[in-house]
């Protein structure tokens, strides 16, 4: 039985191409730094501000699918406990991050606190699947928590990046026009995904760019309007060859280039010097590795206490492992860091920290073994196939 039958190809390829790009970047930056930085600066805009538009487009498609019948976000109330847990998974790491930077006297890095919100959805899903299994409610909980955490982070990012009122006004106008156009296309069931990209996509990109919000998010408000299927095909599921709705055609076309874009993203953002970095680089990994599980457990328990329904098969031990798994910032940590900081040593420290958060996957695996959760549960009784409990 091949691994591809258990893990969606998108996740596997992402877990190959992005680390590969980072590895090439790390080697290049430490062997031939001058040529590396010239190349990465030349590519940065096209990769981070343009290429990533399609990565977030494909990711949004997967989130949209999860809101359909059978998806983890359907109905919305299912997301309540993971959403509250996500909030805790942000607040505690932020507090730890700020405290750590105070101790090591690196106050300049405080401005990048929003990076603690970053959770790599694909990496988290992969780790969750390997630890709990694909249909375990803990995996759905993890995905929900990751999406909410990133959504909070992206919202904060939009507020934190300063820009002039005129730019905001013009940008918002373009953004609203883009969304309205996407809605109009959607109502008319416009079949070509290219229409959505060329019209609403370009308008939203320009609007976000002018408003000072990261333009890589341009397709996030456009993709939900593309005509799509009526049921969730499964997170990160590859569209079938016979799929003909607009959203699936969009993903079928863009998913392969997105893997190359992820490679370039790793290449542009993963090249950090392996010497001369300050203690601040440990701020992010320490904050999320310790703070995320604590925050998730505390806030999920609090949510249950105030009357929200406890997710079945997800107890404190599972929550600890979920929190550790969600400490992997990786792709999103690199994205958040590059969005909030300009070129310079601070960005390199945050990027190094973002890369280090990948170790959380290993810590989560060890914790799962020790706590005997998921596939390490001695008397494992997996939830029925297809069940997603809330």
């Amino acid at each position: 039985m091949s691994i591809r039958r258990h893990i969606p190809w998108f996740v596997l390829d992402s877990m190959l191409m992005l680390p590969l790009g980072c590895l090439v970047a790390l080697t290049w930056a430490n062997v031939e730094p001058l040529s590396y930085y010239r190349a990465s600066h030349a590519l940065a805009f096209w990769v981070n501000d343009v290429g990533l538009v399609f990565f977030f487009g494909v990711m949004t498609r997967n989130v949209v699918d999860e809101t359909l019948p059978g998806g983890t976000l359907h109905p919305w109330r299912r997301a309540a406990v993971p959403a509250v847990a996500a909030l805790g998974g942000i607040l505690v790491p932020v507090a730890l991050y700020v405290s750590f930077l105070s101790v090591v006297a690196e106050p300049m890095l405080m401005s990048a606190w929003v990076t603690t919100c970053a959770v790599d959805v694909a990496a988290g899903y992969l780790a969750g699947t390997l630890i709990f299994g694909r249909r375990h409610p803990a995996t759905a909980f993890l995905v929900l928590l990751s999406i909410v955490s990133n959504a909070i982070g992206l919202t904060i990012l939009a507020v934190l990046i300063p820009t002039s009122l005129l730019h905001v006004a013009v940008g918002l106008t373009a953004l609203v026009a883009g969304i309205a156009l996407a809605g109009w296309f959607g109502r008319r069931h416009a079949p070509s995904p290219w229409l959505y990209l060329a019209g609403p996509g370009v308008l939203c990109w320009a609007g976000l760019y002018l408003a000072g919000v990261h333009p890589a998010l341009a397709l996030v408000p456009v993709v939900p309007f593309m005509p799509h299927s009526r049921r969730d095909p499964g997170l990160f599921e590859e569209p079938t060859a016979t799929a003909h709705n607009t959203l699936e055609r969009f993903e079928r076309f863009w998913a392969p280039p997105v893997q190359f874009i992820l490679f370039l993203f790793g290449l542009v953002n993963g090249g950090v010097p392996l010497h001369g970095l300050e203690a601040g680089l440990w701020g992010l990994p320490i904050a999320v590795l310790i703070g995320r599980p604590i925050g998730v457990v505390l806030f999920a328990s609090l949510a249950v206490r105030i009357g929200l329904h406890r997710t079945s098969h997800v107890g404190v031990r599972e929550l600890i492992v979920i929190g550790l798994t969600a400490a992997m910032g990786f792709t999103m940590a690199l994205f958040f860091a590059a969005a909030i900081l300009g070129i310079g040593p601070l960005l390199q420290q945050m990027e190094s920290g973002g890369l280090l958060t990948v170790t959380a996957g290993l810590v989560a695996w060890v914790a799962a073994r020790s706590l005997k959760v998921g596939r390490f549960h001695a008397h494992r009784s997996p939830p029925p196939e297809g069940e997603v409990s809330s």
Binding site: Y37, H41, M108, S111, G342, I343, G344, P345, Q348
Partner: protein, 302 residues
């Protein structure tokens, strides 16, 4: 009688001590190797100063002594101006107290930010940053540009390009925390920043660049016509941290140090002074008359 003798010996001892102290002061002041012209631009350079520890006070006292004979009216600060806590009392202990003599004498400090500084310090009035992370000011034929290399965002890059291009002064001096060229073992050259800033500096005729971050003193051989100095040991030292290379023109990593600089017409004279008042490097840089844009920045003689 015995009492009178004791009084006499005490007076003699006090007089001797005063003479020794005055002699030491004078000896240090006599190490000045700058022209000390009447109408020149005179300034001091300190980097990585704000520890509040005895070495910072020693360097500050030495600066005050030199100020007695070399009346510099400004000090440029190369970042890490305040280590550790950043409260009002920290600013007092790690800045206002060490440099009290200079501040009382009317010397103005112009700071740039390092990675150990708080961004809020740009609003600290004695740093004269006007609430900005990066800024420019001029005196006579010299224009200074203070940058924040912690995070070189597109707005700052755009600003420095425009500011350098529109500057008409003969001397363009940039200063910031992270060195584009350094042989410090701990940090070394920041090549990432260099790929962005160096082409701008070369294209717009920057003459001299001062940085800190590595806790040593180093003068770099001119790179693409620009003179680079690392002066990051005004508060703490990384002894033996200088890893001399072909680009090291001079260096000092045996004690804390600061710099004194004088610009008169086309000549910039400089000296690096140790915590004990010893001049550890000195020389003169010559700048050609200002052209409209870009170009080499002249030669140097020692």
């Amino acid at each position: 009688m015995a009492c009178s003798d004791r009084r006499g010996r005490g007076a003699a001892l006090t007089l001797t001590l005063l003479l020794v102290a005055a002699g030491a002061w004078r000896a240090a002041a006599q190490d000045l190797r700058l022209p000390n012209a009447a109408d020149s631009v005179k300034f001091a350079v300190i980097g990585d100063s704000g520890t509040g520890d005895p070495p910072q006070f020693d360097v500050a006292n030495q600066m005050a002594k030199f100020h007695g004979v070399f009346r510099f009216d400004r000090v440029i600060m190369l970042g890490d101006n305040i280590y550790g806590g950043q409260s009002a009392s920290d600013l007092d202990q790690k800045f206002a107290q060490p440099y009290k003599a200079l501040l009382d004498a009317g010397v103005t400090f112009y700071a740039s930010l390092g990675n150990h500084d708080s961004q809020n310090n740009r609003n600290y009035p004695p740093f004269h940053m006007g609430g900005e992370r990066y800024y420019s000011y001029a005196t006579k034929n010299v224009r200074f540009f203070a940058l924040d290399t912690d995070s070189l965002d597109p707005a700052q890059v755009q600003w420095i390009q425009g500011a350098l291009k529109s500057a008409t002064e003969q001397w363009k001096i940039c200063y910031f925390h992270h060195p584009l060229y350094s042989d410090g073992k701990t940090h070394g050259s920041d090549i990432n920043l260099r790929t962005v800033l160096e082409p701008i500096f070369v294209a717009n005729g920057v003459n001299v660049v001062f940085s800190g971050h590595d806790h040593i003193y180093e003068r770099i051989t001119p790179q693409k016509g620009i003179y680079y100095f690392v002066s990051g040991s005004a508060g703490q030292l990384r002894k033996g941290d200088l890893r001399r290379s072909a680009m090291t023109a001079a260096g000092y990593d045996a004690d804390c140090s600061f710099m004194l600089v004088e610009i008169a017409g086309s000549d910039m004279s400089f000296e690096a002074v140790s915590r004990t008042g010893q001049v550890v490097d000195s020389g003169v840089i010559h700048a050609p008359p200002r052209r409209t844009s870009g170009g080499a920045t002249g030669g140097m003689r020692r």
